[in-house]
């Protein structure tokens, strides 16, 4: 059982016998276990034991190891690679092995030098701890025994760590505490346990829960194509595959900004440095509409950009998801954005190739699928050890080479996620964002979350499906249009094409830089859908009765439809109803004019 405090074993010392890129072979590490941490060479570079072959241990080093020599010493304390979990994670930015990037920059300037050792959490910061349990209480693992205001948005609940049961002997009064202070003691069967505000947890081990549940609440993102057409549930998994320039990162950013999870873990895994800087400069300024606080106050960032050491990229997604589990256990809804899982898979490939593993498809190791499955399995809606509900949604970007979805990472990922937001190059080229294809994308959560939408409108699923059918009909007709031109089609089909065009421009296309359009509330989404459907149904009747498409497109209010999304704010959606009434009125009078006479 893993204990919350760090158990320090006697260090074992060995020596390097060979160096091949980030993979180091060492001998003399008797008794070292798989996935134990080792400090390598004179700089004490952080590494992890990834293979044990007789007397030889293979270590992957998480830092630049240029200059490392055979004969250099290796020290292991027999502790697995872990993250430090406690107050102060929020609004912080870490590298793949949870070193604080702000601290690194204070210590060594603009560049990341090797061998830097810094605590992931501020050990001097005083947190105001308020106990909610009292001495003499029987406590069990996962139980909340006190609170800290971590940020104005996040109440940090202090939990009894997994594996600890017994009688609370002592607990401190309300007051300022650091993460190193002992704040409570528990008399367990095996002895006295001293509890602190922070503790370690091994990154490759999922934190325990009481049970997993079926997700049923949608994760609202404010992005119309996602919420309405391809929703993801809280506790669900989604993938965003797309070639370069299709807007994966923009979509991830939009979700990180506007989705209604309590905590966001943003993992920049092998991506551009400037993109992380963008998040870092933008999130403190962006204000969450629901509570008026900066978005950074609910965000933890892991940045292992493409030029940072490759092995740390491999571990960065585990670091991120372990932090997510920590907040889930407090009863929060957490969303993890991993951008991009392809870079993680490539790190896996690079390391496995240096180990001389026999490759499977395209050089990737045969265990790629297993690793992907394990990662996505850490998502879910759960009953925590304390009985509360908490959830983790994982949204992974995938960067298929050449935009070809048949490559191994996309293929394996699609087996383990239930929501697939396929990005389309032609949409992106036309600057139609988000460039999520309505033909190739799918979601399996539609029925799970229908109940939530029903509260808003009984007919939600029917409306959604009808609009979706117009889009699919349009997709079919476009094949014909390519051959004969739109004018050769029957009038009703031309009308369908026109309505589909309206859906694309007035609904699907969303400008994440527009102050109003960037976030669309569920109510507004529904009302916009109803406007489009009103046009389709009433207009369709008129067209079938002999009116031309031009009669309809000449309606004065029609050209306004495309601007509703960016001109009507979320709190004035009654203006959409007014517009709809006006449109219906015009259609009605058109009917009287043309057909009545």
């Amino acid at each position: 059982m893993v204990s919350a405090t760090e158990t320090r074993n006697a260090p074992i010392e060995g020596k390097v016998i060979s160096v091949n890129g980030p993979i180091v072979k060492a001998v003399g590490l008797t008794g070292v276990k798989m996935f134990d941490i080792a400090e390598v060479g004179p700089d004490g570079l952080i590494g992890e034991v990834i293979r044990l072959l007789g007397p030889v241990a293979l270590i992957q080093v998480y830092e630049d190891n240029t200059g490392l020599k055979p004969g250099d010493k290796v020290i292991s304390e027999g502790r697995p690679l872990s993250v430090l979990l406690g107050p102060g994670l929020i609004a912080n930015i870490y590298d793949g092995i949870q070193r604080p990037l702000v601290g690194i920059s204070e210590q060594c300037g603009s560049y990341i030098e090797k061998g830097v050792k810094l605590s992931a959490l501020d050990v001097q910061k005083q947190w105001t701890f308020t106990p909610s349990a009292k001495p003499g209480d029987e406590v069990a693992e996962g139980q909340i025994i006190g609170e800290i205001e971590e940020t104005p948005l996040v109440v940090h609940r202090v939990l009894i760590p997994p594996g600890v049961f017994g009688r609370l002997e002592d607990i401190v009064e309300t007051g300022p505490r650091t993460i190193e202070d002992v704040i409570y003691t528990v008399q367990t069967k095996t002895g006295l346990y001293e509890g602190k505000l922070a503790g370690y947890w091994p990154v490759r081990v999922a934190r325990p829960v009481r049970s997993k549940k079926k997700p049923f609440i949608p994760l609202m993102t404010g992005q119309r194509i996602i919420d309405t057409f391809f929703p993801i549930a809280r506790g669900g998994t989604a993938a965003i595959p797309g070639g370069f320039g299709t807007g994966k990162t923009m979509t991830q950013h939009a979700l990180a900004k506007w989705c209604n999870a309590d905590i966001i873990i943003y993992i920049g895994c092998g991506e551009r440095g400037n993109e992380m800087t963008d998040v870092l400069t933008e999130f403190p300024k962006l204000v969450d509409e629901r509570n008026g606080r900066p978005l950074i106050e609910r965000t933890v960032m892991i940045a292992n950009t493409s030029n940072m050491p490759v092995p740390a990229r491999e571990v960065s997604i585990y670091t991120g998801v372990t932090i997510a589990e920590f907040y889930r256990d407090m009863g929060y809804s957490v969303a993890v954005m991993a951008d991009s899982t392809s870079r993680w898979a490539e790190a896996l490939r690079e390391l496995s190739s240096r180990l001389g593993d026999m490759p499977a498809e395209e050089g990737f190791p045969p265990y790629l699928a297993t690793r992907l499955a394990e990662f996505y399995e850490r998502a879910g809606l759960v009953e925590t050890l304390s009985g509360a509900a908490g959830d983790i949604s994982i949204i992974g970007a995938v960067s298929p080479p050449g935009g070809d979805f048949s490559e191994p990472v996309t293929q394996h990922t699609s087996r383990f996620v239930r929501c697939f937001w396929a990005l389309d190059k032609t949409l992106a080229d036309a600057r139609h964002y988000p460039s999520i294809s309505w033909v190739d994308s799918y979601t399996e959560y539609l029925n799970d979350i229908e109940g939530w939408w029903r509260e808003l409108d009984e007919q939600w699923l029917a409306i959604r499906n009808e609009v979706m059918n117009i889009l699919l009909e349009d997709h079919r007709l476009q094949q014909l249009v390519k051959l004969v031109g739109a004018d050769a089609l029957p009038m009703f089909q031309q009308f369908t094409l026109h309505v589909a065009e309206m859906i694309k421009n007035a609904f699907l296309q969303q400008n994440s830089f527009d102050p109003i359009d960037k976030y669309c509330s569920p109510e507004k989404q529904l009302k916009l859908l109803k406007v489009i459907l009103a046009l389709y149904e009433r207009g369709g009747v008129l067209v079938k009765a002999g009116l031309t498409l031009k009669d309809i497109t000449d309606l004065p209010s029609l050209s306004e439809m495309v601007r509703l999304k960016s001109e009507i704010p979320n709190n004035e959606t009654n203006r959409i109803d007014e517009y709809r009434e006006r449109l219906l009125g015009e259609l009605e009078s058109l009917k009287e004019q043309v057909l009545g006479v």
Binding site: T66, S110, I112, G245, S306, E346, R431, A488
Partner: protein
Amino acid sequence: MCCEIEYTNIGGISGPLVFVEGVRGVGLGEIVEIRDGKSLRIGQTLEVDEDRAVVQVFEGTSGLAVKGMRVSFVGRSLEIPVDRAMLGRVFDGLGRPSDGYPQVVTNRRMNVNGLPVNPWSREYPRDFIQTGISAIDGMNTLIRGQKLPIFSGSGMPHNLIAAQIARQAMILSEEEEFTVIFAAMGVKFDVARFFIDSLEESGVLTHSAIFLSLADAPSIERLITPKVALTLAEHLAFDEGMHVLVILTDMTNYCESLRELSSSRGEIPSRKGYPGYLYSDLASIYERAGRLKGFDGSITQMPILTMPSDDISHPVPDLTGYITEGQIVLERELFNKGIYPPIAGLPSLSRLMKDGIGEGRTRTDHAQVAAQLFASYAKVKRIRSLAAIVGEEELSDLDKIYLEFGNSFEEEFLSQGENENRTIEETLEKGWRMLSILPQEELYRVRREDIDRYYIPSSDGGD
């Protein structure tokens, strides 16, 4: 130091690699000096075991013999001297002077491999660079500190465009210093000569440094050339506060050298024989662009690469596009129409554009005009493919207007002279003139107030 020890026990030579036996205490990435009687070659260790080192020789191994070779290990990574006195000079691919003048005298030496920039220490790039080319300024704006590659094909005028950008973007202002660093990897002498002449004619050569590893130089040398050039760039930008534009040509050659090295090490290849770490390796070059908090200077990178058979999904452009902040794609169809610069309307992209334009930077309507031009031009492409089947006569009137818009867009907006330097105002004004060909109702990406202000109501587009 260990420089005193010379090893002569060579286990073998394979491609650019030399296997040295019996070595002790040699580190990874250490510089190696190889002497075979008369010549001195430089190499680097790629792999070290207890008694063996694998050395990559930058100058290539041709002429080396197992017997008679003397190898010594310097005990540090490759460093080059850096100084602003290097401006106006020409160097070889390893950073040694090749213009006949002596080595620059300086105490400052920097490791060519650089260190990864802490993402926290980056400053998000926002300053617009006016290149004077409408297709770039108007629709794919270049930002100071951006890495924006040119994806080209053989025979297309990527060099002309890069030279035009270098000339026109280098307008000297009083407070700020600009400089161009040009690194050639495996290109022909005439390409290098063209750049040098072009920089000389416009008078910026004295503010430029040139690194040449031409097609006849050993291919392994190319792996170091961009790193050497970027090391000088980092010194000039962050020690001297200059704005540096680094042009790297041709990255496809660089990647081919990497493939050659990888294959002689017997590594498992991924796509098209390129090593699995091509992405990380390219990132270690491209990510050395940007701005840093607390520093005045910047590094803007413009890598040029030729796409084999114009295939944008080839691993080199593909992985580049995943790292760089957009791409300028040259299109053969436009090139064949005689349009210069043949910058493809749709696949080109500048990711940093959104924050570098608009009010107070370029003009308030810039983003919307660009979005509208992209959207309308995308429609033109669809109508053209339809017209190819049904014939232009069969198109609707609106579609015909779109075709007219498309042609004017290509011939007047995209197209311009090799020495034509348009201001951003001129570019946007041209953009509105193109949009005014279309009926107002078709302009749904621009704001109404901008239509009122800039749209030219006469139906013939204003001329």
